[in-house]
Protein backbone atom coordinates (compact mmCIF):
# COMPACT_ATOMS: atom_id res chain seq x y z
CA UNK A 1 0.00 0.00 0.00
CA UNK A 2 1.24 3.38 -0.77
CA UNK A 3 1.29 4.70 2.70
CA UNK A 4 -0.40 7.95 2.07
CA UNK A 5 -1.16 9.88 5.19
CA UNK A 6 -4.43 8.35 6.31
CA UNK A 7 -5.69 11.74 7.24
CA UNK A 8 -4.89 13.29 3.91
CA UNK A 9 -3.52 16.76 3.35
CA UNK A 10 -6.52 18.27 5.06
CA UNK A 11 -5.30 16.66 8.23
CA UNK A 12 -2.84 19.28 9.15
CA UNK A 13 -5.64 21.47 10.26
CA UNK A 14 -8.05 23.80 8.71
CA UNK A 15 -5.51 26.59 8.66
CA UNK A 16 -3.08 24.59 6.60
CA UNK A 17 -4.40 24.68 3.14
CA UNK A 18 -2.37 24.40 0.02
CA UNK A 19 -3.01 26.74 -2.80
CA UNK A 20 -2.99 25.62 -6.35
CA UNK A 21 -2.50 27.58 -9.44
CA UNK A 22 -5.60 29.15 -10.75
CA UNK A 23 -7.88 31.57 -9.05
CA UNK A 24 -10.00 30.00 -6.37
CA UNK A 25 -8.83 26.62 -7.55
CA UNK A 26 -11.02 26.99 -10.60
CA UNK A 27 -8.81 25.22 -13.11
CA UNK A 28 -7.79 22.56 -10.62
CA UNK A 29 -11.36 21.98 -9.61
CA UNK A 30 -12.49 21.63 -13.19
CA UNK A 31 -9.65 19.31 -14.09
CA UNK A 32 -10.57 17.15 -11.12
CA UNK A 33 -14.24 17.17 -12.02
CA UNK A 34 -13.51 16.20 -15.60
CA UNK A 35 -11.29 13.27 -14.60
CA UNK A 36 -13.67 11.99 -11.96
CA UNK A 37 -16.60 12.60 -14.29
CA UNK A 38 -14.88 10.46 -16.90
CA UNK A 39 -14.68 7.55 -14.48
CA UNK A 40 -18.24 8.04 -13.28
CA UNK A 41 -19.37 8.07 -16.90
CA UNK A 42 -17.49 4.82 -17.53
CA UNK A 43 -19.11 3.27 -14.48
CA UNK A 44 -22.60 4.37 -15.45
CA UNK A 45 -22.25 3.33 -19.08
CA UNK A 46 -20.92 -0.06 -18.07
CA UNK A 47 -24.08 -0.78 -16.11
CA UNK A 48 -25.95 -1.14 -19.40
CA UNK A 49 -23.28 -1.54 -22.00
CA UNK A 50 -19.76 -2.79 -22.46
CA UNK A 51 -18.32 -3.82 -25.83
CA UNK A 52 -17.84 -7.37 -24.58
CA UNK A 53 -18.74 -9.34 -21.48
CA UNK A 54 -16.03 -8.47 -18.96
CA UNK A 55 -16.76 -11.46 -16.73
CA UNK A 56 -16.93 -14.36 -19.14
CA UNK A 57 -14.12 -16.59 -20.36
CA UNK A 58 -13.22 -16.68 -24.03
CA UNK A 59 -10.56 -19.28 -24.79
CA UNK A 60 -10.52 -18.28 -28.46
CA UNK A 61 -9.42 -14.72 -27.93
CA UNK A 62 -6.67 -14.95 -25.36
CA UNK A 63 -4.12 -12.13 -25.15
CA UNK A 64 -5.10 -10.29 -28.31
CA UNK A 65 -3.16 -7.09 -28.93
CA UNK A 66 -5.00 -3.76 -29.00
CA UNK A 67 -6.68 -3.13 -32.32
CA UNK A 68 -9.97 -2.63 -34.02
CA UNK A 69 -11.58 -5.75 -32.64
CA UNK A 70 -10.46 -5.15 -29.08
CA UNK A 71 -9.67 -1.52 -28.38
CA UNK A 72 -7.17 -2.26 -25.60
CA UNK A 73 -6.62 -5.94 -26.38
CA UNK A 74 -7.67 -8.92 -24.31
CA UNK A 75 -6.34 -10.58 -21.19
CA UNK A 76 -5.38 -14.18 -20.47
CA UNK A 77 -9.05 -15.17 -20.17
CA UNK A 78 -9.82 -13.63 -23.52
CA UNK A 79 -11.71 -10.77 -21.89
CA UNK A 80 -11.81 -7.41 -23.57
CA UNK A 81 -9.62 -5.14 -21.45
CA UNK A 82 -11.60 -2.05 -22.39
CA UNK A 83 -14.80 -3.67 -21.15
CA UNK A 84 -13.07 -4.67 -17.92
CA UNK A 85 -11.75 -1.15 -17.41
CA UNK A 86 -15.25 0.25 -17.89
CA UNK A 87 -16.81 -2.24 -15.51
CA UNK A 88 -13.90 -1.85 -13.10
CA UNK A 89 -14.83 1.79 -12.67
CA UNK A 90 -17.90 0.57 -10.81
CA UNK A 91 -15.83 -1.30 -8.24
CA UNK A 92 -13.35 1.55 -7.89
CA UNK A 93 -16.13 4.04 -7.24
CA UNK A 94 -17.97 1.60 -5.01
CA UNK A 95 -14.89 0.96 -2.88
CA UNK A 96 -14.12 4.64 -2.62
CA UNK A 97 -17.68 5.64 -1.86
CA UNK A 98 -18.36 2.98 0.74
CA UNK A 99 -14.95 3.32 2.40
CA UNK A 100 -15.24 7.08 2.61
CA UNK A 101 -18.89 6.75 3.65
CA UNK A 102 -18.01 4.44 6.52
CA UNK A 103 -15.06 6.58 7.53
CA UNK A 104 -17.13 9.74 7.53
CA UNK A 105 -20.13 8.05 9.07
CA UNK A 106 -18.07 6.82 12.00
CA UNK A 107 -15.49 9.54 12.28
CA UNK A 108 -17.52 12.69 11.82
CA UNK A 109 -20.13 12.14 14.57
CA UNK A 110 -17.35 10.90 16.83
CA UNK A 111 -15.26 13.97 16.16
CA UNK A 112 -18.18 16.36 16.53
CA UNK A 113 -19.25 14.84 19.84
CA UNK A 114 -15.68 15.00 21.13
CA UNK A 115 -15.25 18.55 19.90
CA UNK A 116 -18.52 19.69 21.45
CA UNK A 117 -17.64 18.28 24.85
CA UNK A 118 -14.23 19.59 25.77
CA UNK A 119 -12.72 18.13 28.88
CA UNK A 120 -12.91 14.61 30.14
CA UNK A 121 -15.12 13.12 27.43
CA UNK A 122 -13.04 14.68 24.69
CA UNK A 123 -9.82 13.45 26.29
CA UNK A 124 -11.25 9.98 26.61
CA UNK A 125 -12.55 9.87 23.07
CA UNK A 126 -9.34 11.20 21.63
CA UNK A 127 -7.34 8.57 23.45
CA UNK A 128 -9.61 6.01 21.85
CA UNK A 129 -9.00 7.68 18.54
CA UNK A 130 -5.25 7.45 19.10
CA UNK A 131 -5.62 3.73 19.59
CA UNK A 132 -7.62 3.28 16.43
CA UNK A 133 -5.10 5.44 14.57
CA UNK A 134 -2.54 2.88 15.63
CA UNK A 135 -4.41 0.27 13.59
CA UNK A 136 -3.80 1.48 10.04
CA UNK A 137 -6.23 0.50 7.29
CA UNK A 138 -3.90 -2.07 5.80
CA UNK A 139 -3.38 -3.83 9.11
CA UNK A 140 -7.13 -3.94 9.58
CA UNK A 141 -7.57 -5.23 6.06
CA UNK A 142 -5.15 -8.07 6.73
CA UNK A 143 -6.82 -9.00 10.00
CA UNK A 144 -10.37 -8.57 8.71
CA UNK A 145 -9.43 -10.53 5.62
CA UNK A 146 -8.43 -13.39 7.89
CA UNK A 147 -11.53 -13.06 10.05
CA UNK A 148 -14.25 -12.46 7.50
CA UNK A 149 -12.56 -13.66 4.35
CA UNK A 150 -11.00 -11.41 1.77
CA UNK A 151 -13.26 -9.57 -0.60
CA UNK A 152 -14.62 -6.24 -1.69
CA UNK A 153 -16.80 -5.77 1.37
CA UNK A 154 -14.04 -6.64 3.81
CA UNK A 155 -11.66 -4.33 2.03
CA UNK A 156 -14.16 -1.47 2.00
CA UNK A 157 -15.01 -1.90 5.67
CA UNK A 158 -11.37 -2.14 6.70
CA UNK A 159 -10.46 0.92 4.68
CA UNK A 160 -13.46 2.75 6.06
CA UNK A 161 -12.70 1.96 9.67
CA UNK A 162 -9.02 2.58 9.13
CA UNK A 163 -9.72 6.04 7.72
CA UNK A 164 -12.35 6.99 10.29
CA UNK A 165 -9.89 8.35 12.88
CA UNK A 166 -8.67 10.86 10.33
CA UNK A 167 -12.20 12.11 9.83
CA UNK A 168 -12.68 12.21 13.58
CA UNK A 169 -9.59 14.38 14.01
CA UNK A 170 -10.64 16.77 11.28
CA UNK A 171 -14.21 16.93 12.49
CA UNK A 172 -13.06 17.51 16.04
CA UNK A 173 -10.68 20.33 15.25
CA UNK A 174 -13.29 21.91 13.01
CA UNK A 175 -15.93 21.53 15.67
CA UNK A 176 -13.71 23.12 18.29
CA UNK A 177 -13.27 26.10 16.02
CA UNK A 178 -16.95 26.41 15.30
CA UNK A 179 -17.82 25.95 18.97
CA UNK A 180 -15.99 29.14 19.75
CA UNK A 181 -18.04 31.03 17.20
CA UNK A 182 -20.62 33.34 18.60
CA UNK A 183 -23.44 31.90 16.57
CA UNK A 184 -23.08 28.68 18.49
CA UNK A 185 -23.33 30.63 21.72
CA UNK A 186 -26.33 32.39 20.27
CA UNK A 187 -27.93 29.05 19.45
CA UNK A 188 -27.28 27.88 22.99
CA UNK A 189 -28.70 31.09 24.34
CA UNK A 190 -31.72 30.43 22.14
CA UNK A 191 -32.17 27.14 23.96
CA UNK A 192 -31.15 24.85 21.11
CA UNK A 193 -30.12 21.29 21.94
CA UNK A 194 -26.68 19.87 21.38
CA UNK A 195 -28.05 17.70 18.62
CA UNK A 196 -29.52 20.72 16.85
CA UNK A 197 -26.29 22.66 17.17
CA UNK A 198 -24.27 19.71 15.95
CA UNK A 199 -26.47 19.08 12.93
CA UNK A 200 -27.54 22.56 11.94
CA UNK A 201 -24.57 24.69 12.89
CA UNK A 202 -21.45 22.59 13.15
CA UNK A 203 -21.89 20.02 10.42
CA UNK A 204 -22.65 22.53 7.65
CA UNK A 205 -19.78 24.72 8.71
CA UNK A 206 -17.17 22.00 8.80
CA UNK A 207 -18.51 20.34 5.66
CA UNK A 208 -15.95 22.16 3.54
CA UNK A 209 -12.98 20.55 5.19
CA UNK A 210 -14.81 17.25 5.39
CA UNK A 211 -15.47 17.28 1.67
CA UNK A 212 -11.82 18.00 1.02
CA UNK A 213 -10.83 15.17 3.32
CA UNK A 214 -13.37 12.90 1.65
CA UNK A 215 -12.05 13.54 -1.81
CA UNK A 216 -8.48 12.91 -0.72
CA UNK A 217 -9.52 9.78 1.18
CA UNK A 218 -11.33 8.60 -1.91
CA UNK A 219 -8.10 8.60 -3.88
CA UNK A 220 -6.31 6.85 -1.06
CA UNK A 221 -9.02 4.20 -0.88
CA UNK A 222 -8.71 3.47 -4.59
CA UNK A 223 -4.95 3.09 -4.24
CA UNK A 224 -5.37 0.96 -1.14
CA UNK A 225 -7.81 -1.33 -2.90
CA UNK A 226 -5.23 -1.84 -5.62
CA UNK A 227 -2.63 -2.66 -2.99
CA UNK A 228 -4.98 -5.08 -1.28
CA UNK A 229 -5.73 -6.75 -4.60
CA UNK A 230 -2.02 -7.18 -5.08
CA UNK A 231 -1.87 -8.96 -1.72
CA UNK A 232 -4.88 -11.08 -2.67
CA UNK A 233 -7.11 -9.28 -0.19
CA UNK A 234 -9.12 -7.32 -2.71
CA UNK A 235 -12.05 -7.96 -4.97
CA UNK A 236 -12.21 -11.61 -6.02
CA UNK A 237 -12.68 -12.56 -9.66
CA UNK A 238 -14.45 -12.52 -11.97
CA UNK A 239 -15.68 -9.04 -11.00
CA UNK A 240 -13.24 -6.76 -12.74
CA UNK A 241 -11.25 -4.61 -10.35
CA UNK A 242 -8.46 -2.38 -11.56
CA UNK A 243 -6.21 -3.45 -8.73
CA UNK A 244 -6.60 -7.11 -9.57
CA UNK A 245 -6.18 -6.45 -13.27
CA UNK A 246 -2.90 -4.81 -12.40
CA UNK A 247 -1.87 -7.73 -10.25
CA UNK A 248 -2.83 -10.26 -12.93
CA UNK A 249 -1.11 -8.27 -15.65
CA UNK A 250 2.11 -8.45 -13.69
CA UNK A 251 2.64 -12.02 -14.86
CA UNK A 252 2.33 -10.92 -18.47
CA UNK A 253 4.71 -8.00 -18.20
CA UNK A 254 7.07 -9.57 -20.70
CA UNK A 255 4.40 -11.14 -22.85
CA UNK A 256 1.92 -8.28 -23.09
CA UNK A 257 3.35 -5.23 -21.34
CA UNK A 258 0.41 -3.04 -22.32
CA UNK A 259 -1.86 -5.07 -20.06
CA UNK A 260 -0.35 -3.47 -16.98
CA UNK A 261 -0.58 -0.02 -18.47
CA UNK A 262 -4.37 0.25 -18.84
CA UNK A 263 -5.48 -0.41 -15.27
CA UNK A 264 -2.50 1.66 -14.10
CA UNK A 265 -3.70 4.59 -16.15
CA UNK A 266 -7.28 4.11 -15.00
CA UNK A 267 -6.23 4.17 -11.34
CA UNK A 268 -4.03 7.18 -11.90
CA UNK A 269 -6.84 9.07 -13.62
CA UNK A 270 -9.27 8.46 -10.79
CA UNK A 271 -6.81 9.21 -7.99
CA UNK A 272 -5.47 12.25 -9.79
CA UNK A 273 -9.04 13.38 -10.38
CA UNK A 274 -9.95 13.16 -6.73
CA UNK A 275 -6.74 14.80 -5.58
CA UNK A 276 -7.27 17.69 -7.95
CA UNK A 277 -10.86 17.89 -6.85
CA UNK A 278 -9.70 17.99 -3.25
CA UNK A 279 -7.20 20.74 -3.97
CA UNK A 280 -9.75 22.72 -5.91
CA UNK A 281 -12.35 22.38 -3.19
CA UNK A 282 -9.82 23.28 -0.55
CA UNK A 283 -9.07 26.51 -2.33
CA UNK A 284 -12.72 27.21 -2.79
CA UNK A 285 -13.56 26.61 0.84
CA UNK A 286 -10.61 28.57 2.13
CA UNK A 287 -12.21 31.78 3.36
CA UNK A 288 -8.98 33.65 2.99
CA UNK A 289 -8.88 32.87 -0.69
CA UNK A 290 -12.27 34.36 -1.30
CA UNK A 291 -12.32 37.78 -2.82
CA UNK A 292 -13.64 40.25 -0.32
CA UNK A 293 -16.40 42.48 -1.50
Amino acid sequence: MTAVDPRGPAATGPRRRPVTAGRNGGATLWAGLVLVGLVVLAAVVSVWWTPFDPEGVFPDSILQPPGTAYLLGTDSFGRDVFSSILRGAQIALLVGTVAVGIAAGLGVPFGIVAGMNPGRLDQFMMRGNDISLAFPALLLAIIFGAIFGAGTITAMVALGIGTAPAFALIARSGTMQIMSREYVLAARAAGKSGLFIGVRHILPNISGMLIVQASVSFGIAVLAEAALSYLGLGTPPPTPSWGRMLQEAQGYLFVEPLLILWPGIAIAILVLGFNLLGDGLRDRFDPRMQVKR
Binding site: G128, A227, Q250
Partner: protein, 315 residues
Protein backbone atom coordinates in the same frame (compact mmCIF):
# COMPACT_ATOMS: atom_id res chain seq x y z
CA UNK B 1 7.18 18.72 35.47
CA UNK B 2 8.01 15.24 36.71
CA UNK B 3 4.34 14.77 37.40
CA UNK B 4 3.47 15.77 33.84
CA UNK B 5 5.97 13.30 32.43
CA UNK B 6 4.72 10.56 34.73
CA UNK B 7 1.16 11.32 33.73
CA UNK B 8 2.03 11.10 30.06
CA UNK B 9 3.86 7.84 30.56
CA UNK B 10 0.94 6.51 32.57
CA UNK B 11 -1.45 7.50 29.83
CA UNK B 12 0.80 5.91 27.26
CA UNK B 13 0.92 2.69 29.26
CA UNK B 14 -2.85 2.66 29.61
CA UNK B 15 -3.17 3.17 25.87
CA UNK B 16 -0.85 0.26 25.24
CA UNK B 17 -2.85 -1.98 27.56
CA UNK B 18 -6.10 -1.07 25.82
CA UNK B 19 -4.44 -1.59 22.46
CA UNK B 20 -3.25 -5.01 23.60
CA UNK B 21 -6.77 -5.98 24.62
CA UNK B 22 -8.15 -4.77 21.30
CA UNK B 23 -5.47 -6.74 19.51
CA UNK B 24 -6.16 -9.86 21.49
CA UNK B 25 -9.91 -9.68 21.10
CA UNK B 26 -9.74 -8.95 17.43
CA UNK B 27 -7.46 -11.88 16.79
CA UNK B 28 -9.28 -14.26 19.09
CA UNK B 29 -12.14 -14.44 16.63
CA UNK B 30 -9.93 -15.47 13.76
CA UNK B 31 -11.52 -18.43 12.02
CA UNK B 32 -9.36 -21.39 11.16
CA UNK B 33 -7.80 -23.87 13.52
CA UNK B 34 -4.12 -23.38 14.15
CA UNK B 35 -3.79 -26.96 15.27
CA UNK B 36 -5.27 -28.31 12.06
CA UNK B 37 -3.07 -26.09 9.92
CA UNK B 38 -0.03 -27.35 11.74
CA UNK B 39 -1.03 -30.96 11.18
CA UNK B 40 -2.28 -30.75 7.65
CA UNK B 41 -4.68 -32.79 5.60
CA UNK B 42 -3.81 -36.18 6.94
CA UNK B 43 -4.46 -35.50 10.61
CA UNK B 44 -7.34 -37.14 12.45
CA UNK B 45 -9.77 -35.28 14.70
CA UNK B 46 -8.08 -36.80 17.74
CA UNK B 47 -4.70 -35.51 16.56
CA UNK B 48 -6.19 -32.06 16.11
CA UNK B 49 -7.72 -32.11 19.60
CA UNK B 50 -4.43 -33.18 21.15
CA UNK B 51 -2.58 -30.53 19.23
CA UNK B 52 -5.10 -27.90 20.32
CA UNK B 53 -4.45 -28.79 23.92
CA UNK B 54 -0.72 -28.82 23.37
CA UNK B 55 -0.90 -25.32 21.94
CA UNK B 56 -2.90 -24.15 24.92
CA UNK B 57 -5.76 -23.07 22.71
CA UNK B 58 -8.36 -24.83 24.85
CA UNK B 59 -8.02 -22.40 27.76
CA UNK B 60 -10.49 -19.54 28.33
CA UNK B 61 -9.75 -16.30 26.52
CA UNK B 62 -9.10 -14.31 29.69
CA UNK B 63 -6.51 -16.78 30.87
CA UNK B 64 -4.86 -16.78 27.49
CA UNK B 65 -4.83 -12.98 27.40
CA UNK B 66 -3.35 -12.59 30.86
CA UNK B 67 -0.81 -15.28 30.19
CA UNK B 68 0.16 -13.69 26.91
CA UNK B 69 0.25 -10.06 27.98
CA UNK B 70 1.92 -10.91 31.28
CA UNK B 71 4.76 -12.48 29.40
CA UNK B 72 4.88 -9.69 26.86
CA UNK B 73 5.41 -7.22 29.69
CA UNK B 74 8.60 -8.99 30.66
CA UNK B 75 9.68 -9.06 27.04
CA UNK B 76 8.60 -12.60 26.29
CA UNK B 77 6.36 -12.79 23.26
CA UNK B 78 6.02 -16.51 23.59
CA UNK B 79 6.83 -19.27 21.19
CA UNK B 80 5.56 -19.46 17.68
CA UNK B 81 3.18 -22.34 17.15
CA UNK B 82 4.68 -22.76 13.71
CA UNK B 83 8.40 -22.22 13.88
CA UNK B 84 8.52 -23.30 17.55
CA UNK B 85 11.02 -20.57 18.13
CA UNK B 86 10.83 -17.53 20.36
CA UNK B 87 8.68 -14.91 18.65
CA UNK B 88 10.61 -11.95 20.01
CA UNK B 89 13.69 -12.43 17.83
CA UNK B 90 11.57 -13.19 14.77
CA UNK B 91 9.77 -9.89 15.25
CA UNK B 92 12.92 -7.91 15.92
CA UNK B 93 14.60 -9.32 12.81
CA UNK B 94 11.64 -8.44 10.63
CA UNK B 95 11.09 -5.10 12.33
CA UNK B 96 14.72 -4.22 11.77
CA UNK B 97 14.35 -4.81 8.05
CA UNK B 98 11.14 -2.84 7.81
CA UNK B 99 12.47 0.04 9.88
CA UNK B 100 15.65 0.28 7.80
CA UNK B 101 13.59 0.16 4.61
CA UNK B 102 11.06 2.70 5.80
CA UNK B 103 13.60 5.12 7.20
CA UNK B 104 15.76 4.93 4.09
CA UNK B 105 12.75 5.53 1.91
CA UNK B 106 11.64 8.43 4.07
CA UNK B 107 15.10 9.98 3.88
CA UNK B 108 15.02 9.58 0.09
CA UNK B 109 11.51 10.99 0.06
CA UNK B 110 12.62 14.01 2.06
CA UNK B 111 15.66 14.57 -0.11
CA UNK B 112 13.30 14.75 -3.01
CA UNK B 113 10.28 16.37 -1.44
CA UNK B 114 11.81 19.28 0.43
CA UNK B 115 13.56 21.03 -2.45
CA UNK B 116 10.87 19.96 -4.88
CA UNK B 117 8.02 21.12 -2.68
CA UNK B 118 9.65 24.43 -1.82
CA UNK B 119 10.49 25.09 -5.43
CA UNK B 120 6.99 24.35 -6.64
CA UNK B 121 5.57 26.58 -3.91
CA UNK B 122 7.88 29.49 -4.56
CA UNK B 123 7.33 29.23 -8.30
CA UNK B 124 3.64 28.64 -7.81
CA UNK B 125 2.46 31.06 -10.43
CA UNK B 126 5.14 30.23 -12.93
CA UNK B 127 4.78 27.45 -15.51
CA UNK B 128 7.69 25.48 -14.10
CA UNK B 129 6.05 25.50 -10.68
CA UNK B 130 2.88 24.12 -12.18
CA UNK B 131 4.86 21.40 -13.94
CA UNK B 132 6.64 20.49 -10.72
CA UNK B 133 3.41 20.23 -8.82
CA UNK B 134 1.89 18.28 -11.69
CA UNK B 135 4.70 15.72 -11.43
CA UNK B 136 4.04 15.22 -7.74
CA UNK B 137 0.32 14.97 -8.41
CA UNK B 138 0.91 12.15 -10.84
CA UNK B 139 3.45 10.57 -8.51
CA UNK B 140 0.81 10.40 -5.81
CA UNK B 141 -1.64 8.75 -8.16
CA UNK B 142 0.58 5.81 -9.08
CA UNK B 143 0.22 2.68 -6.93
CA UNK B 144 3.48 2.04 -5.11
CA UNK B 145 3.79 -1.57 -6.14
CA UNK B 146 3.46 -0.62 -9.78
CA UNK B 147 6.42 1.69 -9.31
CA UNK B 148 8.26 -1.18 -7.65
CA UNK B 149 7.47 -3.61 -10.43
CA UNK B 150 8.63 -1.18 -13.07
CA UNK B 151 11.86 -0.48 -11.19
CA UNK B 152 12.56 -4.20 -10.98
CA UNK B 153 11.83 -4.66 -14.64
CA UNK B 154 14.17 -1.89 -15.68
CA UNK B 155 17.05 -2.05 -13.22
CA UNK B 156 17.11 -5.70 -12.20
CA UNK B 157 15.68 -7.70 -15.05
CA UNK B 158 16.63 -5.67 -18.09
CA UNK B 159 19.78 -3.85 -17.04
CA UNK B 160 20.81 -6.35 -14.36
CA UNK B 161 22.38 -3.55 -12.35
CA UNK B 162 20.74 -4.42 -9.09
CA UNK B 163 19.16 -7.48 -7.50
CA UNK B 164 15.46 -7.97 -8.04
CA UNK B 165 14.84 -8.56 -4.37
CA UNK B 166 15.85 -10.26 -1.19
CA UNK B 167 17.66 -9.03 1.84
CA UNK B 168 21.25 -9.09 3.05
CA UNK B 169 22.12 -8.11 6.59
CA UNK B 170 24.42 -5.09 6.75
CA UNK B 171 26.56 -7.01 9.24
CA UNK B 172 27.11 -9.82 6.76
CA UNK B 173 27.88 -7.82 3.67
CA UNK B 174 27.52 -4.07 3.62
CA UNK B 175 27.81 -3.74 -0.15
CA UNK B 176 25.22 -6.42 -0.71
CA UNK B 177 23.01 -4.79 1.88
CA UNK B 178 23.10 -1.50 0.03
CA UNK B 179 22.47 -3.16 -3.33
CA UNK B 180 19.43 -4.91 -1.99
CA UNK B 181 18.16 -1.80 -0.27
CA UNK B 182 18.30 0.65 -3.15
CA UNK B 183 15.41 -0.44 -5.35
CA UNK B 184 12.81 -1.09 -2.65
CA UNK B 185 13.77 2.12 -0.87
CA UNK B 186 13.35 4.08 -4.09
CA UNK B 187 10.07 2.34 -4.88
CA UNK B 188 8.72 3.12 -1.44
CA UNK B 189 10.30 6.54 -1.30
CA UNK B 190 9.17 7.79 -4.70
CA UNK B 191 5.49 7.67 -3.89
CA UNK B 192 6.10 8.99 -0.38
CA UNK B 193 8.24 11.71 -1.84
CA UNK B 194 5.45 12.73 -4.16
CA UNK B 195 3.01 12.79 -1.25
CA UNK B 196 5.39 14.69 1.00
CA UNK B 197 6.27 17.23 -1.63
CA UNK B 198 2.63 18.18 -1.85
CA UNK B 199 2.55 18.75 1.88
CA UNK B 200 5.79 20.68 1.79
CA UNK B 201 4.41 22.78 -1.01
CA UNK B 202 1.13 23.49 0.71
CA UNK B 203 2.67 24.27 4.05
CA UNK B 204 5.30 26.51 2.47
CA UNK B 205 2.54 28.31 0.61
CA UNK B 206 0.67 28.59 3.85
CA UNK B 207 3.65 30.06 5.63
CA UNK B 208 4.34 32.57 2.89
CA UNK B 209 0.99 34.09 3.68
CA UNK B 210 1.79 34.48 7.37
CA UNK B 211 2.10 37.95 8.81
CA UNK B 212 5.59 37.33 10.13
CA UNK B 213 6.85 36.65 6.64
CA UNK B 214 5.45 40.01 5.67
CA UNK B 215 7.27 41.45 8.68
CA UNK B 216 10.47 39.83 7.47
CA UNK B 217 9.92 41.28 4.01
CA UNK B 218 9.33 44.67 5.59
CA UNK B 219 12.69 44.29 7.32
CA UNK B 220 14.33 44.11 3.92
CA UNK B 221 14.71 40.37 3.52
CA UNK B 222 14.10 39.11 -0.02
CA UNK B 223 11.35 36.59 -0.67
CA UNK B 224 13.76 33.66 -0.62
CA UNK B 225 15.64 34.79 2.45
CA UNK B 226 12.48 35.59 4.36
CA UNK B 227 11.17 32.15 3.55
CA UNK B 228 14.42 30.45 4.39
CA UNK B 229 15.07 32.25 7.65
CA UNK B 230 11.54 32.47 8.96
CA UNK B 231 9.36 30.18 6.90
CA UNK B 232 10.94 26.77 6.85
CA UNK B 233 10.95 26.02 10.53
CA UNK B 234 7.33 27.01 10.71
CA UNK B 235 6.50 25.02 7.61
CA UNK B 236 8.25 22.01 9.11
CA UNK B 237 5.64 21.60 11.82
CA UNK B 238 2.76 20.30 9.67
CA UNK B 239 5.18 18.39 7.46
CA UNK B 240 6.47 16.60 10.53
CA UNK B 241 2.98 15.53 11.50
CA UNK B 242 2.58 14.01 8.10
CA UNK B 243 6.00 12.44 8.27
CA UNK B 244 5.18 10.80 11.58
CA UNK B 245 1.91 9.46 10.24
CA UNK B 246 3.62 8.29 7.08
CA UNK B 247 6.25 6.36 8.94
CA UNK B 248 3.56 4.87 11.12
CA UNK B 249 1.42 3.73 8.24
CA UNK B 250 4.46 2.57 6.28
CA UNK B 251 5.40 0.01 8.91
CA UNK B 252 2.53 -2.08 7.64
CA UNK B 253 2.20 -0.25 4.35
CA UNK B 254 5.63 -1.38 3.24
CA UNK B 255 4.27 -4.92 3.02
CA UNK B 256 3.39 -4.45 -0.63
CA UNK B 257 6.91 -3.37 -1.50
CA UNK B 258 8.23 -6.15 0.72
CA UNK B 259 6.22 -8.59 -1.36
CA UNK B 260 7.38 -7.13 -4.67
CA UNK B 261 10.99 -7.37 -3.52
CA UNK B 262 10.64 -10.53 -1.41
CA UNK B 263 11.86 -8.83 1.74
CA UNK B 264 11.18 -10.62 5.03
CA UNK B 265 9.90 -7.49 6.76
CA UNK B 266 7.33 -7.12 9.45
CA UNK B 267 4.34 -6.77 7.15
CA UNK B 268 5.39 -9.88 5.26
CA UNK B 269 5.90 -11.73 8.51
CA UNK B 270 2.43 -10.68 9.58
CA UNK B 271 0.85 -11.94 6.37
CA UNK B 272 2.68 -15.25 6.66
CA UNK B 273 1.81 -15.70 10.30
CA UNK B 274 -1.82 -14.80 9.73
CA UNK B 275 -1.97 -17.37 6.94
CA UNK B 276 -0.59 -20.00 9.28
CA UNK B 277 -2.78 -18.83 12.18
CA UNK B 278 0.31 -18.53 14.32
CA UNK B 279 -1.68 -16.60 16.89
CA UNK B 280 1.03 -15.80 19.43
CA UNK B 281 3.17 -14.45 16.63
CA UNK B 282 0.33 -12.47 15.05
CA UNK B 283 -0.60 -10.97 18.41
CA UNK B 284 2.99 -10.06 19.04
CA UNK B 285 3.44 -8.47 15.64
CA UNK B 286 0.24 -6.48 15.81
CA UNK B 287 1.06 -5.30 19.31
CA UNK B 288 4.56 -4.28 18.29
CA UNK B 289 3.17 -2.39 15.30
CA UNK B 290 0.56 -0.63 17.39
CA UNK B 291 2.97 0.30 20.15
CA UNK B 292 5.44 1.48 17.57
CA UNK B 293 2.85 3.79 16.06
CA UNK B 294 1.84 5.10 19.48
CA UNK B 295 5.48 5.63 20.32
CA UNK B 296 6.00 7.42 17.06
CA UNK B 297 3.13 9.79 17.78
CA UNK B 298 4.66 10.40 21.18
CA UNK B 299 7.98 11.22 19.57
CA UNK B 300 6.40 13.50 17.00
CA UNK B 301 4.72 15.38 19.84
CA UNK B 302 8.06 15.61 21.56
CA UNK B 303 9.70 16.88 18.40
CA UNK B 304 7.07 19.59 18.20
CA UNK B 305 7.96 20.85 21.62
CA UNK B 306 11.56 21.07 20.49
CA UNK B 307 10.65 23.02 17.38
CA UNK B 308 7.89 25.14 18.82
CA UNK B 309 8.59 27.11 22.00
CA UNK B 310 4.87 27.73 22.47
CA UNK B 311 4.41 24.07 23.28
CA UNK B 312 7.45 23.97 25.50
CA UNK B 313 6.01 26.27 28.10
CA UNK B 314 2.81 24.28 28.20
CA UNK B 315 4.28 21.64 30.45
Amino acid sequence: MVLVVLRRIGLFAATVVVASIVTFLMLSILPGNAARIALGVQATEADVAAQTKAMGLDRPAVVRYLDWFGHVLVGDFGTSTVSRRAIGPEITDALGITVILVLTSVVLALLFAVPFGILSAVRQRKPDGAILSGISQIGVAVPGFLAGMLLVTVFAVTLRWLPAGGWVDPGDDLGGFLQHLILPAIALGSVQGAVLSRYVRSSVLEVTREDFIRTARAKGLGVGRALFRHGLRNAAVPVMTVLGLQIASLLVGAVVIERVFSLPGLGSLLLDKVALRDLPAVQGIVLVLVVFVLLLNFLVDLAFTVIDPRLRSAS
